[in-house]
């Protein structure tokens, strides 16, 4: 983790009519860190992430992602980030190879780069036998790992992961986090939302959102100290007990 700030937000707010989804959230994310964005369903995590990715325009406040302004330079932001959505993001009716080629190509990778990196990726994920199969036929765990790898294929500065390990078995989850660590070691900043509290332990720093507001922002260790808790679960209960909003 370095001291370079890759995501800087200042009172970022999103309103839907009278409903304030995120209320003046302010935080910094440093290059190379694994930044966990925790919270109950309905707390505003996905809304926050969508703003940072350029999928949604903030109602007020400022932010800079990879040095680019969130309002005026959203296309430049997009060149420098990767994204893995909650709903599945690869094309089920294309093969593994075709999906990789497609996403690599639209991020501007040359054919040579593509071929090299693709072979590497397939090797690393152990998908050699499945490379020509339609993605729709793969089991969920493999799809998730593939989706993540495709999201960072073009070596973006930051990758946004929205609840990436939903519905996946513990072994696969562990493997998934191995991939995240490897990416972090390479210098990619990981911004991940989750409500699996044990995953919070894997992050460098976490924030906890409740009712659209950031209630905590620190390393897991320090938070557990602060709330005299032994697990992040307990920290979460402490903070989220008074939450008024229940569902996303």
């Amino acid at each position: 983790m370095t001291n370079e700030v890759v995501i800087k937000t200042d009172k970022l707010t999103k309103r839907f009519g009278d409903f304030i989804a995120t209320n003046e959230i302010t935080f910094d994310v440093y290059a190379g860190e694994i930044f966990g964005f925790l919270g109950a369903n309905g707390a505003g995590k996905t809304t926050a992430m969508k703003m940072l990715c350029g999928l949604s325009t903030p109602s007020s406040g400022n932010a800079a992602i990879a040095g680019f302004d969130i309002y005026k330079q959203s296309e430049s932001i997009k060149k420098n980030i990767g994204y893995m959505s909650q709903k599945f993001s690869l094309y089920e009716d294309l093969t593994v190879i075709e999906n990789i080629n497609f996403f690599g190509g639209i991020y501007g990778m040359s054919d040579k780069q593509l071929n090299e990196k693709r072979e590497n990726l397939i090797e690393t994920l152990g998908l050699k036998n499945e490379a020509k199969k339609l993605v729709g036929s793969l089991p969920l765990g493999w799809k998730q790992k593939l989706a993540f790898s495709v999201a960072i294929f073009h070596e973006p500065k930051i990758v946004f992961l929205d609840e990436p390990t939903g519905g996946v078995d513990p072994v696969t989850r562990r493997q998934f986090w191995d991939l995240i660590y490897a990416a972090s070691d390479r210098g990619i900043t990981i911004f991940v939302t989750t409500h699996y509290m044990d995953e919070a332990e894997y992050c460098n720093r976490v924030t906890m959102m409740v009712d659209g507001v950031i209630k905590a922002l620190d390393t897991p260790t320090k938070l557990k100290e602060q709330f005299s808790a032994t697990t992040m679960d307990e920290v979460f209960f402490e903070l989220a007990r008074g939450a008024k909003r229940k569902a996303d």
């Binding site: 990715c53 999928l55 993001s89 094309y91 009716d93 075709e98 639209i106 991020y107």
Partner: protein, 373 residues
């Protein structure tokens, strides 16, 4: 540009992998093109007529013979009783009832005048007018015939006769499929193009992959071109298959005009049409919605295009709707070029309007499509 190449690769792969849909969008138009022109025939033939003959004279016999010999009418029943024939008429077994009064021949000879009564089933107004027009003409001719026979040879042709010479240009045999096939082809290509395009984009919205695209640096116009081009190609393919496959091989329709002119117009038309499909997709979140909007639009387009009923016969307000309908222009152009060999100069106006429409619809779609909400 590379981005576009990747987008197109993906789109074509997805379309061709969906074999059931692919088969449908090719087979259905072809089958319909084969069957429908045979059905869409306005010519009034086989009109059923009931004849009530109270006279039983040689004149009435001759008249009846002439009516049947004309080939337009099929005699459903022949009787003495009007009520009986009217029953058949009510049951839709006959379309006309001709009543020849008692003493028809006698009155003609003695008083120089006699009346025939014709009842016409006018539920189908056109059939009624045309049917009664045919019958009137046959009766007229019969009238001239008996007059000629009646008059002494020295006094032949006392009355002035006008001879009408009819010339039918471009389609001398009045072949109906000739006229209907190009029009039906246009409608089929239109349906496939617009539906498929709209549904395709909305499906990505429903499934979620569109979010993934919106997050990338793909420009709006790349994405839209990536969606338009494959369906543009498919549209041209189906049109070609229909024109040179079905129309030529089955109906022996050989286009009289320049293919360059036709295909240039087709290209612009498809762009305009797919633009409409795009607009529909930007206003829909689910496939069901897209389908509802598309169906509604297509229905109106089809009815107001001049395919089955002529635009000239519409009231002024309806003509304006027809003028805003891209299908109207293409059907017009297809008929002009294929059947009459019209050239570029003849369809200049249609060309300009279609280009305007293409720009308008696609511009609207591009403006509406937002990567960020």
């Amino acid at each position: 540009m590379r981005t576009l190449k990747f987008l197109l690769q993906k789109e074509f792969r997805q379309i061709f992998r969906n074999t059931s849909i692919l088969r449908m969008i090719i087979a259905m138009p072809i089958i319909q093109l084969l069957v429908m022109p045979l059905a869409a025939d306005f010519e009034i033939k086989n009109i059923n007529i009931s004849i009530v003959d109270h006279d039983h004279s040689s004149y009435s016999q001759k008249l009846i013979e002439k009516i049947i010999a004309s080939g337009y009418f099929k005699m459903n029943d022949y009787s003495n009783s009007f009520n009986q024939s009217f029953l058949e008429f009510q049951k839709d077994k006959s379309d006309l009832v001709l009543e020849i009064p008692k003493n028809f021949e006698k009155e003609l000879v003695r008083e120089n005048e006699s009346n025939l009564f014709i009842a016409v089933n006018a539920i189908n107004g056109t059939k009624a007018s045309v049917g009664s027009a045919y019958l009137s003409r046959i009766i007229s001719n019969f009238n001239s015939d008996i007059r000629l026979d009646w008059m002494q040879p020295q006094k032949f042709n006392q009355t002035p006769t006008i001879e009408i010479a009819t010339l039918n240009w471009f389609n001398p045999f009045l072949n109906y499929p000739f006229f209907m096939v190009p029009g039906i082809l246009v409608v089929l290509v239109t349906m496939v193009g617009a539906y498929m395009c709209a549904l395709n984009i909305v499906k990505e919205k429903e499934v979620g992959t569109i979010e993934q695209i919106n997050v990338t640096p793909i420009k709006k116009y790349h994405f839209i071109l990536g969606k338009l081009i494959p369906f543009w190609v498919i549209g041209i393919f189906i049109f070609t298959l229909g024109l040179f496959g079905v129309a030529r091989l089955v109906y022996h329709i050989v286009p009289a005009g320049s293919m360059l002119v036709l295909y240039s117009f087709l290209s612009i038309y498809l762009i305009a049409l797919l633009g409409i499909g795009l607009i529909i997709s930007t206003y829909s979140d689910t496939q069901q919605q897209a389908m509802s909007l598309a169906f509604f639009a297509m229905m109106i387009f089809m009815l107001m295009s001049g395919l089955f009923t002529s635009v000239d016969s519409m009231p002024e307000w309806a003509k304006w709707i027809a003028r805003c309908n891209p299908v109207t222009y293409f059907i017009d152009v297809v008929r002009l070029v294929v059947l009459k060999g019209s050239g570029f100069a003849d369809i200049k106006n249609q060309f300009l309007i279609m280009t305007g429409m293409a720009i308008f619809f696609n511009g609207w779609a591009v403006l509406n499509y937002k990567k960020t909400s």
